[in-house]
Amino acid sequence: MITIGERAPSFVLPDTEGVVHSPGEAPATVVLFTCNHCPYALAWHERTVDVARDYADLGVRVLAINSNDAERYPRDSPEAMRVRVQRGEFDGVPYLRDESQQVARDYDAKTTPDVFVLDANSLLRYRGAPDGDYEDPAQRAVFLRDALDAVLDGRDPDPAETPPIGCSIKWRT
C-alpha cells in the first residue's frame, strides 16, 4: 500500500493496441483504475475523460487501467476494452490491461473507479474518488481537478484523500 507523499510504483502495461505505457515523464500523472461494467465507473467515466482533455495542454497524462479478472467477468476482457476504445469512449486516454492484477495490488486499488494522482517525481499526492457524487455530472470530477491544480501549482492537494467509491476490483480466486 502506498501513502500520500510516497513514491508510487512504476509499471509497464499494454494498451488495447499493444503499445506499452508507464506513469511519469509529466508534471502530473493520473492513474485511474476502472473497468467496462461497473455502474460507478461508467457514471464517472465521461467526467474523467473530460479531465484528460482539459489538462492535456498542461502536460498532464491520464492512464486508465483495467485489472479485473476477465475469466470470471468476460465483460472486462481485452476485446471488450478494445471495442470501447474503438467507439471513441476514451478519446485518446490509454486504456491499459493489468492482466496479472499486480499493478492493482501494488497500488492497493480498492474499487472502480479509484483515482491516484502522481506528481512530476511520481510521488502520490491524491487518492480517492473523482468527485463526491457519481449521479451528478455537474460535479465535473472536482476532487481530481482540484488535486491536479494543486500539484501543478506546487501546493498540497486538500483533501489529499477521499474514500474511493465503486465496485470492488474483481480479483482472481
Binding site: H37, P39, L42, P74, E135
Partner: protein, 109 residues
C-alpha cells in the same frame, strides 16, 4: 405480493436500492417491512437464482427491470439505465413504481 431484493456484498449499492424500494412502497401505501432481503454470496447461488448482479429487485418473481436473455449470472454490480439515459447502480424509481402498481392490480383482480 412478494417483494425481494437480492444483493451481493461486494457491491456498495444495495443499501441505496433498499432505501429507494422502501420509499417507493410507502408512497404506494405498501408495507416496506415486507421486503425480503437475501444475500447472494457464491457463484452457485448466482446461477441457481439467475442473479445477474447486485442489486436485483423482483416483484412476484419478476425482475423490475428484466435483464437481457443472454445476461450472464455473476457476483457483480448490476448496471442499470435510468429513463433519462443515465447509468445507475440502482433501478429507476419509476420502474419500481410500475412493477409494484402492476402487482397490486393483479392481486386486487
Amino acid at each position: 405480493m412478494h417483494v425481494e431484493l437480492l444483493f451481493w456484498e461486494g457491491c456498495p449499492s444495495h443499501p441505496q436500492a433498499l432505501a429507494e424500494l422502501r420509499t417507493t412502497m410507502v408512497e404506494l401505501g405498501l408495507d416496506p417491512a415486507e421486503v425480503i432481503v437475501r444475500e447472494i454470496s457464491t457463484e452457485d447461488e448466482a446461477r441457481r437464482e439467475r442473479f445477474v448482479g447486485s442489486p436485483t429487485i423482483r416483484v412476484n418473481g419478476t425482475d423490475v427491470r428484466p435483464p437481457a436473455p443472454d445476461e450472464p449470472w455473476a457476483l457483480t454490480c448490476r448496471v442499470y439505465y435510468r429513463r433519462d439515459g443515465r447509468v445507475s447502480p440502482t433501478p429507476d424509481p419509476q420502474d419500481l413504481r410500475d412493477a409494484l402498481r402492476a402487482a397490486r392490480l393483479d392481486s386486487a383482480s
